[in-house]
């Protein structure tokens, strides 16, 4: 297993391998039934992801990287196997507990931003915070700090449809971090942005997660993020392949 540490803009400064892994996948399998045939998307995955790491899942469209991300985040149901996050086996949780687990421990960033169109930028950010039962005032206070950090301090009361794609994704990043989750999951966060904006957003995401000491898993088909990652997996034919394994296959 190769850990590719980047030299300049590494998001995570050090790794403590003595700590137990934050995410553990055990025999994780996902299959769909299509026209009477079983199509296996993810096949018996076994992997650990350390706390504080930035992990990249690389793969082509339809390779199953988003599915894997959804399974780790508990927004999709595994066909077999387990996903452990810290001490919790989330694949064994019932629907309600899983939702509450997600609410407290997961931050999501989607390709299409998925902001709530009826809430302002500030309200969108404070939503996960408020969903945990915190007061609106506290939520907005915490959100304002993050909104400044993502450079949108002046746009607090703007609705999503008045924000550009890059601005929307910056709000989404702030929203994913506001409730201090254990794990941040990003599904093609730059996939819907132009190159320059994508880069800005990516740097912002890495900087914020690093500063907060958060674990980030990103699904992407963009190889440019690789230099920043602690760990890169290629999702291919239902399997996770590390860089070194890939190099062995295709010397």
């Amino acid at each position: 297993m190769t850990v590719s540490l980047s030299t300049s803009a590494s998001p995570v400064s050090s790794l403590d391998s003595s700590k137990p892994p934050l995410v553990r996948l055990r025999n994780l399998t996902k299959s769909y039934e299509e026209a009477g045939h079983l199509r296996v998307v993810l096949h018996a995955l076994d992997t650990d992801i350390q706390e504080g790491q930035f992990t990249v899942l690389l793969g082509k469209s339809g390779s199953g990287k988003s599915t894997l991300l959804n399974l780790i985040g508990g927004i999709d149901v595994a066909s077999a196997g387990e996903v452990w996050i810290k001490d919790t086996c989330i694949t064994r949780l019932n629907e309600r507990d899983l939702t509450l687990f997600r609410r407290d421990n997961i931050g999501y960033i989607f390709q299409f931003f998925n902001l709530i169109p009826t809430l302002t930028a500030l309200e969108n950010i404070s939503l996960p915070y408020e969903l945990r039962g915190n007061s609106r005032r506290e939520g907005e206070k915490a959100s304002r700090v993050l909104l400044e950090r993502v450079g949108l301090g002046a746009r607090a009361n703007t609705y999503p449809d008045k924000l550009s794609g890059g601005e929307q994704q910056r709000v989404a990043i702030a929203r994913a971090l506001v409730h201090q989750p254990l794990l941040i999951l990003a599904d093609e966060p730059t996939g819907n942005l132009d190159e320059d904006t994508g880069e800005t957003v990516l740097h912002l995401l890495l900087e914020l997660t690093r500063d907060a000491g958060k674990t980030l898993i990103m699904a992407t088909h963009n190889p440019e993020v690789v230099p920043y990652a602690n760990m890169v997996y290629h999702v291919s034919e239902g399997k996770l392949v590390t860089d070194s394994e890939l190099n062995n296959k295709h010397p």
């Binding site: 985040g73 309600r96 939702t99 609410r103 989607f110 009826t118 809430l119 939503l127 945990r132």
Partner: protein, 858 residues
């Protein structure tokens, strides 16, 4: 329900604001449903409350009432009660409806009393020192004959004051009376009860009503328990034959109960509007859920629980339905004022004279409207709200998932629909009317569950045809209906229900009307009918002198004359009066239709000569007499109780309560009454009917006020009354269609908006506005056609149920169902026109959007 956080409330409230069209549709669905319920409730309630207040104010504190036969009670009974039995709490009453010419011919009840016996009974007539009526007025009323007291409010309404003369008409007679004083009751309830009363003394009333020496009733206050029982026994012992004593409330309760079936049928119709409104709500909520799936998915990913999503949707429905319900109340009160007039007229025509001058708005009716409206909205929102909770917490959802779910549910929906229809027919076989209406609703709902299957099959079948006719547009339209089956089928179902109800109700009213027409043609074969002007439209009870028959007979051109006398008599153990009609000749010339009879008409007529009677089918059904041989009926006569064999049950639409027909010799032998009510004349062949009518009118002019009508005029006036009676049904029908129209408009609008992006793409690729217009109208037209086609069998079933089950149970009339082709043409046309109209706005709106904007829209 799980608690919603502030943020979720904000999400919900703002999404209501951001989708004004859907919010307005939702509110409209609830508002119209609630408005219909409230309006009908107010109308029904106002009529029965007016009647209740009126009977209450007339009965006062009386506990019992003695009533007699056609001629009333002999006056000396009152004297005997006072002197022989030494009763103090006893008061005579002479009363009937008259018309007051100065008050626009309005029916008023003349109420003749003995002022000195009144005090214990009716407080407002207390003419003592505490009275609000002036001393001068009291002394005038007590000392001068032909004076009346009336409510001040009524007098003010017609600019009348003390000392003014008013002309009263009772049958052929006119009678002038002077207003001695005005009553100013202090409490509002008495004030309302007094509105229709003209109070006079017994002797004035007797003279006016032709009842000299007789009383209509004697009121009593009888103590409770043993003392009272003993007294009642003593009173009963001295009652003349034909007189009965019953509690004061028994009769009024029974009479107001007569309208129960009528009220229930109106309520059922108003509920139907709500059912159609529920389809509309269901559609709106479903659409809002479908449209917001990505947002709901994001919320789920962020940790919003399924319970919270459910609560979000349901709360949204609650808030909007409260707005709708409040608007519905306002609209309902406005509509209620119109409905009161119509309902009152029908009640007065069919049941008892009642006039309602103010629509009271009981808080209970309003609460009921809001509860039913909000409840229906929540019920309609439950399925989509549940649907919303199944949104997976990610962006991975495909629209086709929902549709394939609906597709998979089709067998279950179809089976459930058939099951509900089967259960409904079982419910209809039970005799309870409320369960009967529940069955009717079941049929409507059961058949609507078949809509997805029918839509799927019909669209699959029509696609090749429309494809060949309209090319690619023709291929797309049926497919897009199938593709959004979860919503298109609901819109189709709503329209189908409304149109089926139109078919069902118009077939029932149409069958009814033609049966009434046939009945009129068969039973009234006399050429000319003579009767006094009457307060009641369908039953002529005002007595006229029998010498009028002789005058008619002696008129040149008249070949034969028949007389009839309509009276009310008592049936032992029956709180309701029995309408008895005496006839001396058969004006139907043997054409009277029978549900059962001992033989042909001559046999029946001969049996009647020997003491048998005919009862109408409606009478038998209301009084639970089996329509078969060997039945008899017991009536109070002036010679005491008498049992009459029933020679036949005839079909008659003259009275909802039904009548008993008796031949003159038998009537004369058992009753002392010798007056008549109507005269029918047959003219000699070759004589001009108008000449005879003119001669009769001249003969009575200035002497007797009598209406002389040709057979044809009478028939058409009966049909005018018939049409008035069913006016409210037609109005309710129309409203249900309006609700359905809004339903399909909202569904189409929603569907088209949802496809904005797709349509933008097509427009960008060269689809012209007119092509878009045609495609949209083809889609909506196809949906309308499915609704129209389905409404043919469903409407026929509804018509069958209404005619053979509901109508028989509500009114006791058997009708012949006639399904005329025009009902069906009308149904399909209504469905098609409604759906095409509903398609125009969405088509225009979509055509106006710039393709670039349409493509960007989410």
């Amino acid at each position: 329900m799980p608690e919603l956080t502030d943020a979720l409330w904000r999400v919900m409230l703002r999404s209501i604001r951001r989708r004004p069209f859907q919010s307005v549709m939702f509110v409209a669905g609830v508002a119209l449903g609630v408005a219909m319920i409230v309006a009908i409730d107010l109308a029904n309630g106002s009529a029965s409350r007016a009647f209740g207040l009126f009977t209450e104010s007339i009965a006062g504190r009386a506990t019992h009432q003695i009533t007699g036969g056609p001629t009333g009670l002999p006056e000396d009974l009152y004297v005997r009660l006072r002197t022989d039995l030494g009763l103090r709490n006893v008061a005579p009453v002479v009363t009937a409806y008259v018309q007051a010419l100065e008050l626009n011919d309005q029916p008023l009840r003349i109420f003749g009393i003995d002022p000195f016996a009144e005090a214990p009974f009716r407080g407002y007539l207390d003419l003592g020192s505490n009275s609000n009526t002036s001393t001068a007025a009291v002394s005038m009323f007590l000392t001068q004959p032909n004076t009346v007291l009336m409510a001040e409010q009524l007098a003010t309404q017609y600019n009348l004051k003390t000392g003014d003369k008013i002309t009263l008409r009772y049958g052929p007679q006119r009678y002038a009376v002077t207003i001695a004083g005005l009553l100013r009751p202090t409490d509002a309830v008495t004030q309302q009860g007094l509105q229709d009363l003209l109070i006079t003394d017994v002797s004035t009333a007797q003279e006016l009503l032709g009842m000299v020496g007789h009383l209509t009733a004697i009121d009593l206050i009888v103590p409770d328990k043993a003392e009272g029982d003993a007294l009642l026994a003593k009173i009963t012992a001295i009652l003349p034959p034909g007189a009965t004593i019953q509690t004061a409330t028994a009769r009024s309760t029974a009479i107001s109960g007569m309208t129960d079936a009528f009220n229930l049928s109106l309520t059922a119709l108003s509920l139907l509007a709500l059912v159609v409104g529920m389809f509309l709500i269901y559609n709106t909520v479903t659409f809002s859920v479908v449209q917001r799936r990505p947002i709901l998915g994001t919320l789920r990913a962020l940790g919003v629980t399924r319970g919270q999503i459910f609560a979000l949707i349901v709360w949204e429905a609650i808030l909007l339905s409260i707005v709708g319900a409040v608007l519905g109340l306002i609209l309902g009160i406005i509509m209620g004022r119109i409905a009161v007039a119509v309902v009152t007229q029908t009640v007065s025509t069919l049941y008892f004279t009642v006039s309602v001058r103010s629509v009271s708005i009981p808080i209970l009716s309003l609460i009921k409207g809001v509860v039913i409206g909000v409840g229906a909205a929540i019920l309609a929102a439950l399925i989509p709200a549940y649907e919303a909770t199944t949104t997976p917490p990610s962006g991975t959802l495909k629209r086709s998932d929902i549709e394939s779910k609906v597709r998979r549910a089709i067998p279950a929906l179809t089976l459930a629909g058939l099951g509900i229809v089967a259960l409904s027919f079982i419910a209809l076989s039970l005799t309870n009317l409320v369960i009967g209406f529940a069955g009717l609703f079941g049929i409507v709902i059961g058949f609507s569950l078949l809509t997805p299957l029918v839509t799927l099959l019909l669209m699959g079948a029509i696609r090749p045809v429309t494809g060949r006719l309209m090319g690619v547009l023709g291929l797309m339209a049926p497919r897009s209906i199938i593709r959004s089956l979860s919503r298109t089928s609901v819109a189709v179902a709503a329209l189908m229900v409304a149109v089926s109800v139109i078919v069902g109700v118009s077939a029932m009213v149409g069958s009814f009307r033609s049966d009434v027409q046939n009945w009129l043609n068969n039973t009234i074969r006399a050429d000319i009918l003579i009767s006094p002007p009457s307060v009641s439209a369908n039953r002529q009870e005002v007595p006229i002198d029998p010498s009028i028959a002789t005058q008619v007979r002696n008129t040149p051109g008249v070949a034969m004359v028949g007389v009839a006398r309509n009276v009310q008599v008592q049936r032992p153990g029956d709180a309701l009066p029995v309408y008895l009609t005496m006839i001396d000749a058969d004006i139907s010339e043997g054409h009277r239709p029978f549900a059962w009879a001992i033989g042909d008409f001559n046999t029946v007529w001969d049996a009647m000569g020997n003491g048998s009677v005919i009862v109408t089918e409606a009478f038998a059904r209301h009084r639970k007499i089996p329509i078969e041989s060997g039945q008899s009926i017991t009536l109070m006569t002036d010679r005491g109780e008498h049992t009459f064999p029933i020679a036949g049950f005839n079909i008659d639409y003259g009275s909802d309560q039904g009548t008993v027909l008796m031949r003159q010799p038998i009537y004369n032998s058992l009753y002392d009454d010798r007056m008549i009510s109507t005269v029918a004349a047959f003219i000699k062949p070759g004589t001009d009917i108008n000449t005879v009518i003119q001669a009769l009118r001249e003969k009575f002019a200035g002497v007797q006020e009598l209406t002389v009508q040709s057979n044809r005029d009478l028939r058409s006036s009966v049909l005018v009354i018939f049409d008035q009676t069913f006016a409210i049904t037609t109005a309710l029908n129309l409203l249900a269609t309006v609700v359905a129209f809004i339903g399909i408009l909202s569904a189409l609008m929603a569907l088209q908006l949802e496809r904005t992006r797709e349509i933008g793409t097509m427009r960008a690729n060269g689809m012209s506005r007119s092509q878009l217009f045609r495609m949209t109208l083809l889609e909506t037209g196809l949906m309308g056609s499915i609704a129209g086609i389905m409404s043919l069998p469903v409407g026929s079933v509804l018509a069958w149920v209404l005619v053979y089950i509901i109508n028989v149970r509500s009114f006791g009339w058997t009708l012949q169902l006639q399904l005329r082709p025009e009902f069906f043409v009308q149904a399909v046309a209504v469905a098609l026109i409604a759906s095409l109209l509903a398609g125009i706005y969405p088509a225009l709106r979509l055509g106006r959007i710039q393709p670039a904007i349409a493509i960007r829209s989410e």
